[in-house]
């Protein structure tokens, strides 16, 4: 069976999650590899979530928050950006491709953007191959 990556999307309730809903109501088709987990704000994103997910074998993670300057809680998405960057560093140090993790910014009106992000990450992670931690589990 060919490898199908499993991708976790940590989405802000106000922007990305709503955009995902919009992608749905617009019937935009995107790869079925993504699993959305809703957060009240990407500011709630804890580095530990990312680490834990990779540790458990997820192949890629999308962090999706509001447009910069458009955070419902002012700077939550900026803090998430920092944390994501930090975890990417850690991944690199641990020998895991940092490209498996990326943060995106989009507004709730951008259903198409959400679909594009999923498409992009699925293609990328598919090329990267399975999370080695997953293979080992």
């Amino acid at each position: 069976m060919s490898y199908e990556p499993k991708i976790l999307a940590l989405c802000c309730h106000y922007c990305a999650y709503t955009a995902a809903d919009l992608a749905g109501s617009m019937r935009l088709q995107y790869p079925p590899n993504v699993r959305v987990l809703r957060l009240p704000c990407t500011g709630k994103l804890d580095a530990a979530y990312l680490m834990k997910a990779f540790e458990h074998g997820v192949d890629g993670i999308i962090v999706a928050g509001c447009l910069e300057g458009g955070c419902h809680f002012q700077e939550g998405n900026l803090r998430a950006k920092n944390r994501t960057a930090l975890v990417r560093q850690v991944l690199a140090e641990a020998g895991l491709e940092p490209e498996r993790l990326e943060m995106f910014n989009l507004s709730s009106a951008e259903g198409q953007t959400f679909a594009n992000i999923v498409e992009l990450m699925t293609t990328r992670v598919r090329e990267l191959g399975p999370n080695p931690l997953r293979r080992g589990s």
Binding site: Y17, V58, R79
Partner: protein
């Protein structure tokens, strides 16, 4: 106007569409009791019928159904369906409404919408909700999510004619419907309720029901009589059904004399009532005339016997060979203990003509003859027979004579063929049989008819005392008077003799009058018993009479009817009750026109024995229908009255909710105001006959097409043609069917059809890839927010837009394709399509017009509700407001906006009464599950087919059952439906569930609903979680059902992981600051301010410029608004000010308001104020009304040539009279300057109407002027279309241009030319202003010299939108206007609670529209600031004191200042203020000590979801 001093805090909202729903919710949520009155059985209106909505593509049902549920869940909204206002009296603030409610026949409080009734309903009628594209039952729910979630019985618009026609009151429609369903036993039982002779009447009834049957106007009446016979015969092949149960045994005894149809009917009825009933019959066989006089070939003796047996089985005793007068008399019966007697001895004496020769041998009485034949006494007839008489008895005699061997038979009667009382079938059969006999015996040559009409017998001729012939004379005139006496005029000299060996007289029957008189009975002039026609009482107490005895010789079914009446009277007599009371029911309206029949199917013909065969004996001629024939025939019933009242639903309903005896009711309700929101109806497309709707199968309306596209529609969302079910490849839309149509009195534009058609085309393409779609249009009116983008996207997606007036549609006979003739590039073109959709316009419904007239609301020139020019929700009747399409055709967001505005106006009127009539919901006490292990209940939704068509829901359920802590899992068609909610509540109790997990759609719309369900069961609302398997699975992976199912299972697993770790959270109540702050002092902001202030709230109005008014032109409106604002005691105006910083949250905001340093600063971000200490203003709600600005063009020489002005500048010139134009001046206008281009890809909406109005004004002032408008699409939507029409009539020229060929304007060399209209052009002393454009019809460039050029410039977003967006954390759309929470249903809300939006800040609009939206924002804001307190807490952060080291990181992180240092207990520790905490969790993620957790999103909860995702590898 006079206003009630103490207004009533209740509002009646008429119309349960989206407008009514929004008004009701706004009013109920801000302290008013609402009566939501809807004329149909459920709320939801037209929106519930739509498939998707533009421009977002939201599923209409998905977005409206939570609102429907919200309405039903709101304690302060009483939904009253099937009701209309009858009268409205009183004054604004204190109205009395008389409401008429139609009977539903289902008790809503008992109905649980299980659908059991629907399963047994035998009726099938076109489904109106699907616009006739499918069928539905009489007992039904209008649509799946219908609210209230209860069934109803549709009893149509009147009684069915068949039922009304039956004298015996048999439920004809009912048993025919049951037969169609194959329910033969039930059908028979239903017949027997009113007629104990189904087998007999199934053969010999003269069936008035069939004469009345409306299908006779189509392709022949339903063969009702034959159907009745069929069910009786069907029973005779098996066991006879048991008689109905006798409910109460009565002590009295009743004697019935005469076992004919009247006597036996009464006896049967009385036996079932519990009386001991004995029938005394003179002859040896019961049945009366039925058995004695009707020959076996028509009614076999065993058939009579079987019906009589059934009557016996009900407990009726029949004593034969007992003759009244001889064996019994009335005194005997009294002595024997009979308490009442019914005389039903009939009219069984055959009459004889007193003519010469009547005493000759061979002259026979017809009735005696038949009696002798039936008893076997008469077995042979020889020679020639002449039968005298024209009734059925005469025919029976003739046909019997044929069978008994007569050589020849002649029937003679005084009537003409048409007047003969015998049924046509009988006469025809008689003729056929006589002719066949004679042909066989070759006794008489020739084929003359043996039925001699208009012959009066003069004398009977005989020899040696024996008949040899009979002499007739021709009848000239004949007539029976009312008493039945004959007046006859014959024609002398027409005598003729017919040879005969036997003459049989069948000229009528009579009662035994001598006997009756002897008993003391009073008789009529016709020698019948004189009994009361209603009660059947005779002059003797306790003695009743029925049947032929009172009717004279009559028909069986009429005798049965009198039997019923006699039984009722005897029962009442024996109970000592009034005999007459309530026995004349009000006359019901009878349906007069047949329903449309799609497929003609002729009436079944009864199989018969061949003539040659049947004349040989007395075997039954008619063979009866087969089962298949019976069902097919019954299916021809058109169900005129919809419900057949067969009673099957009553039997099926275990909840006993169905009551067919319910009646219409009226009720009086006191309200302070009324909101009319009755919606619209679509134009009747048949009125545009050239398009073939109603004649061509593949021409449908747009509403039908919506239903076709809908997943819950008739074809499950599969696109197909109606003629053959084939998927169409080419479809066409024809726009403006019943809009912009002066001929059909629809001069207005329906505003929504262009976008609706584009959306339908786009959605259709997604349903059917490769589909070619063409829209034939005149102008595409994509004037709303984001509409042009949608239009452009549709073009890019391949939707073909053909600007052309379609002249006609023609159906191709073989393919059923449709040929559309139109003109393209000046040439006529024919194109073929598989399916044509007519975009029908909107019009007010009849009910709306009636209601408007009842409440005294006037109509405007377009026939819609007239409103104030600037208060577009105020009708001509004070205190009555209007919202939605009844005011003017409009789309959903504008309808919702108007609904909120109407609510706001009602709130203004009823401000003192706020909160006086409302009640609050009380939830059961919360159960404590702290120490219980998690027991998760998982509910997986099909969402109709939205989820289930892609995701294998059953598989998800099975997987869920295996997940940890899942105690129960099941699936439901709609988990959000009211009945499912109730079901979930039961399951929560039954399975002791302490977590609720719903896998359906998005928690953004549905979480609140399920939380409320949980609370109703004592579950903390935070123990609810959702998995979004629709928006994230089925909708986005529709081509990968397996992967979507796997994903759905993963999402459910993640949610169960989280759910198991969820905990109950507490909430607390906080005070609300009951005031508002409004940014922007233009018309929308001022209207909002005034509305809120009029409602009694204090308002701060912040305006950055030095005066109020915004972009309003100087004039009365501006003066009136500004002075009202300035003089209102509750409005504080802050001029030259702006908001510097905004803090707080819904219910409690704080803003810094102050003056800025300079004009430059105004456009910059927030920051320093001129005044060092700006005002700190607290308020509960914020309204953004910052307006927009006029685009200042750089094109078309604007600013360089004084002759080029903007439309607004022209308007000012027209208003002030400063317009200076030469004779025969030429004025041009160019539309879309700075709109609909790359930089501003949106329509500025108001410019077309402004241009048209200015053109009209110009023509009024200067009729000599030539006015030419260069446009792309004239977007004079709604009633503005009337101005466009007027302008054209006044001679304004409208010339279309394409953006790639935009007009060119230049200053030319000095010259003179001829203008477009042929008049001399301006003699230029300056360089001429020239415009060049392509004439679209000719495709050639044209050039004109202009005296004036007006540019219709677009509207741009306000410069400081970006600043305010950042300040208030509210979003902008791609064009720089503010983005509302939801484009359809929350048009004036922001996603951030407590902040609202109105005016041009939302999108370009006209001034009245801006003001309306301002009022709507006020209405929405009132739902917040009308409350003294609000609930906070729940999803907030909490600090673990043991871990906190007071590093203050959280205080730096929190944008709301929620963490504070607490010094309680002598410790300096951080505490989070729940009221300020907005639940973002930033502090929790940032806390280095991990001392903070955001409740409901605690680390262990989030991590559990992540872990659960990867528990099982695929």
């Amino acid at each position: 106007m006079s206003i009630a001093k103490e207004p009533i805090g209740a509002v009646m909202v008429c119309g349960g569409g989206i407008a009514g729903i929004q008004s009701a919710l706004d009013l109920a949520n801000s302290g008013y009791k609402v009566y939501l009155v809807e004329k149909s059985p459920s709320i939801g209106g037209k929106m519930a019928q739509l498939d998707k909505t533009f421009p977002t593509g939201d599923c209409a049902t998905c977005i409206i159904s939570p609102k429907l549920v919200e309405c039903t869940r709101n304690l302060n909204i009483e939904i009253i369906t099937q009701s209309e206002i009858e009268t409205l009296t009183g004054e604004p603030g204190d109205f009395a409404v008389k409401l008429k409610q139609k009977a539903r026949f289902v008790d809503i409080s008992k109905c649980n919408a299980c659908g059991d009734c629907e399963k047994v309903c035998p009726v099938r009628v076109p489904n109106e909700f699907n616009r006739g594209l499918s069928s539905t039952t009489a007992v039904r729910k209008v649509y799946a999510q219908a609210t209230p979630n209860a069934y109803l019985v549709d009893k149509g618009k009147g009684k069915s004619p068949c039922k009304t026609a039956c004298p015996a009151g048999v439920n004809t429609h009912g048993y025919v419907a049951l037969i169609a369903k194959g329910k033969f036993d039930e059908a028979l039982a239903l017949i027997r309720q009113n007629n104990p002779f189904p087998a007999i009447c199934g053969r010999i009834c003269h069936h008035p029901c069939e004469d009345a049957c409306l299908r006779s106007q189509v392709d022949g009446a339903v063969a009702v009589c034959a159907l009745k016979r069929f069910v009786a015969d069907h029973e005779s092949q098996g066991e006879m059904a048991p008689p109905p149960e006798i409910k109460e045994k009565r002590p009295e005894k009743v004697a019935v004399i005469g076992a004919g149809p009247a006597g036996l009917t009464a006896a049967y009825d009385l036996a079932l009532m519990g009386y001991t009933t004995t029938v005394f019959e003179a002859s040896s066989t019961p049945g009366g005339m039925l058995s004695a006089a009707i020959p076996d070939y028509r009614l076999p003796g065993d058939v009579v016997a079987s019906d009589v047996d059934y009557i016996r089985s009900a407990g009726v005793e029949i004593v034969t060979d007992t003759r009244l007068g001889a064996d019994i008399n009335l005194d005997d019966l009294r002595q024997k203990g009979y308490d009442a007697v019914l005389l039903a001895v009939g009219a069984s004496r055959g009459r004889m003509l007193p003519i010469p020769g009547a005493d000759l041998t061979g002259v026979v009485n017809g009735l005696d003859f038949l009696r002798d034949v039936s008893t076997g006494k008469e077995t042979k007839v020889t020679g020639s027979v002449v039968v005298i008489g024209g009734g059925n008895v005469a025919m029976d005699v003739a046909r019997s004579a044929v069978r008994l061997g007569a050589k020849s038979v002649r029937v003679a009667c005084i009537e003409s063929r048409q007047e003969m009382p015998a049924s046509k079938e009988e006469v025809a059969a008689t003729e056929a049989e006589i002719l066949a006999t004679e042909a066989e015996m070759a006794s008489i040559a020739g084929k003359d008819t043996p039925v001699l009409c208009r012959r009066s017998p003069a004398r009977i001729i005989g020899e040696s005392g024996k008949v040899t012939g009979i002499e007739f004379i021709q009848v000239k005139h004949m007539k029976f008077d009312d008493e039945g006496r004959l007046s006859l005029e014959t024609e002398p000299g027409t005598e003729m003799v017919v040879p005969a060996d036997t003459v049989i007289m069948a000229i009528g029957q009579a009662t035994d009058a001598a006997l009756l008189e002897g008993m003391g009975l009073r008789l009529t002039g016709r020698r019948t018993v004189d009994s009361d026609s209603l009660t059947m009482e005779t002059n003797l107490p306790g003695v009743f009479a029925a049947g032929d005895l009172v009717l004279g010789p009559s028909l069986a079914v009429k005798a049965i009817a009198t039997g019923h009446e006699a039984a009722i009277s005897i029962d009442r007599f024996l109970r000592g009750e009034d005999l007459r009371e309530g026995r004349t029911p009000p006359e019901a309206e009878v349906v007069k026109t047949p329903r449309k029949v799609k497929d003609l199917q002729p009436r079944v013909s009864m199989p018969e024995i061949a003539v040659a065969e049947r004349i040989r004996g007395f075997g039954e001629v008619e063979l009866g229908l087969t089962e298949d024939m019976a069902i097919a025939e019954a299916e021809r019933c058109l169900h005129c009255e919809v419900c057949s009242e067969c009673g099957e639903c009553v039997k099926a309903c275990l909840a006993k909710a169905i009551d067919h005896d319910m009646t219409d009711t009226t009720r009086e309700i006191a309200v302070g105001a009324v909101v009319l929101a009755p919606g619209y109806e679509e134009f009747d497309a048949r009125l545009r006959g050239e398009f073939g709707f109603g004649r061509y199968a593949n021409v449908v309306t747009n509403v039908q097409f919506e239903r076709m596209l809908s997943a819950s529609g008739p074809f499950g969302g599969h696109l197909q043609r109606l003629s053959d079910g084939v998927e169409p490849k080419r479809i066409a839309f024809i726009q403006c069917v019943g809009s912009r149509d002066v001929a059909n009195k629809k001069p207005y534009c329906s505003s929504v059809c262009c976008m609706a058609a584009i959306k339908e085309a786009v959605v259709a393409e997604s349903h059917s890839p490769g589909l070619e779609t063409t829209i034939f249009y005149t102008d595409i009116r994509a004037f709303g927010k984001d509409f042009d983008r949608y239009y452009e996207r549709a073009k890019a997606n391949g939707v073909r837009f053909e600007r052309s007036m379609v002249s006609r549609v023609v159906e191709m006979p073989l393919t059923k394709n449709l040929r559309i003739s139109h003109v393209k590039d000046g040439k006529p073109v024919d194109e073929e399509f598989d399916l044509v959709i007519l975009s029908t316009g909107l019009r007010p419904s009849e009910e709306a017009l009636r209601t408007a007239s009842v409440v005294g609301a006037e109509l405007n020139e377009c026939g819609f509700c007239k409103t104030d020019e600037f208060a577009t929700v105020a009708t001509s009747r004070a205190g009555v407001f209007v919202a939605g399409a009844f005011q003017e055709p409009k789309d959903i967001p504008e309808t919702v906006t108007q609904a909120s505005a109407a609510a706001a106006m009602a709130m203004e009127l009823l401000a003192p009464a706020r909160g006086t009539m409302v009640s609050e919901k009380v939830y059961p006490p919360e159960l404590d599950f702290t120490d219980s292990p998690p027991r998760i209940g998982v509910f997986i939704c099909h969402c109709g087919t939205n989820i289930a068509s892609v995701v294998d829901v059953e598989r998800v359920v099975e997987a869920a059952k295996q997940m940890p802590y899942v105690a129960y899992a099941e699936n439901a068609i709609y988990v959000c439906a009211d009945n499912t909610q109730d079901h979930i509540k039961e399951l929560i109790k039954e399975h002791s569930l302490n977590r609720l997990l719903v896998a359906s759609c998005t928690p953004r719309t549905h979480e609140g609903l399920f939380r409320d369900t949980a609370r109703d069961c004592g579950l903390n609302p935070f123990l609810v979680d959702m998995a979004n398997i629709r928006d994230q699975c089925s909708w986005v992976h529709s081509d990968f059902p397996d992967a979507a199912t796997e994903k759905a299972i993963d999402l459910v697993r993640m949610a169960t992981g989280r759910s198991a770790r969820l905990g109950a959270l507490a909430t607390e109540e906080l005070p609300v600051v009951q005031s508002a702050l409004i940014i922007g002092g233009g018309p929308s902001g001022m209207t909002a301010a005034l509305s809120l202030a009029n409602q009694g709230f204090s308002v701060h109005l912040v305006e950055k410029s030095s005066e109020l008014g915004g972009r309003l032109a100087p004039g009365a409106l501006k003066d009136q608004l500004t002075s009202s604002v300035e003089n209102h005691p509750l409005i504080v105006t802050h001029l030259s000010s702006q908001v510097g910083a905004l803090k707080g949250h819904v219910g409690s905001f704080t803003a810094e308001v102050g003056a800025k340093h300079s004009q430059e600063e105004l456009t910059n971000a927030s920051g320093s104020f001129a005044n060092a200490s700006p005002l700190q203003i607290t308020f509960g709600a914020l309204i953004i009304a910052v307006g927009g600005r006029e685009h200042k063009p750089s094109e078309y020489l604007y600013g360089t040539d004084a002759r080029v002005v903007t439309q607004r500048e022209l308007e000012a010139k027209l208003a002030s009279g400063a317009l200076d134009l030469p004779e025969n001046a030429t004025v041009a206008m160019i539309q879309c300057v700075g709109s609909r281009n790359e930089e501003r890809p949106f329509c500025s909406r108001s410019c077309c109407t402004e241009a048209v109005k200015n053109a009209i004004r110009l023509k009024e002032l200067r009729p000599d002027a030539n006015v030419i408008v260069l446009y792309r699409d004239m977007r004079t939507y709604g009633a503005n279309e009337v101005y466009y029409q007027q302008a054209r009539e006044m001679g304004v020229l409208f010339v279309r241009y394409e953006p790639e060929n935009a007009p060119v304007v230049r200053v030319g060399a000095k010259h003179s030319q001829t203008s477009l209209t042929g008049s001399p052009g301006p003699i230029a002393n300056a360089s001429p202003l020239q415009i060049e454009f392509i004439e679209p019809e000719l495709g050639l460039p044209m050039s004109l010299d202009l005296d004036l050029l007006a540019l219709s410039t677009g509207t741009s977003p306000a410069v400081d939108n970006q600043t305010i967006s950042e300040l208030a954390k509210i979003a902008l759309n791609n064009d720089g206007f503010f983005l509302e929470a939801h484009m359809k249903l929350r048009p004036v809300d922001f996603a951030t609670e407590g902040i609202f939006l109105c005016g041009t800040a939302h999108s370009p609009k006209t001034t009245p529209e801006n003001m309306q939206q301002g009022r709507a924002a006020a209405g929405r804001a009132a739902t917040i600031i009308s409350k003294k307190t609000m609930i906070v807490g729940g999803q907030v952060s909490v600090v673990d004191e043991r871990k906190c080291v007071s590093c203050l990181t959280c205080m730096k992180v929190c944008p709301f200042g929620a963490p504070e240092i607490s010094t309680a207990n002598g410790k300096n520790r951080v505490e989070i203020q729940a009221a300020k905490c907005m639940g973002c969790g930033s502090c929790a993620s940032e806390c280095p000590a991990k001392a903070i957790q955001l409740q409901h999103f605690m680390d262990r909860q989030v991590e559990a979801a992540i872990e659960a995702l990867l528990t099982i590898q695929h």
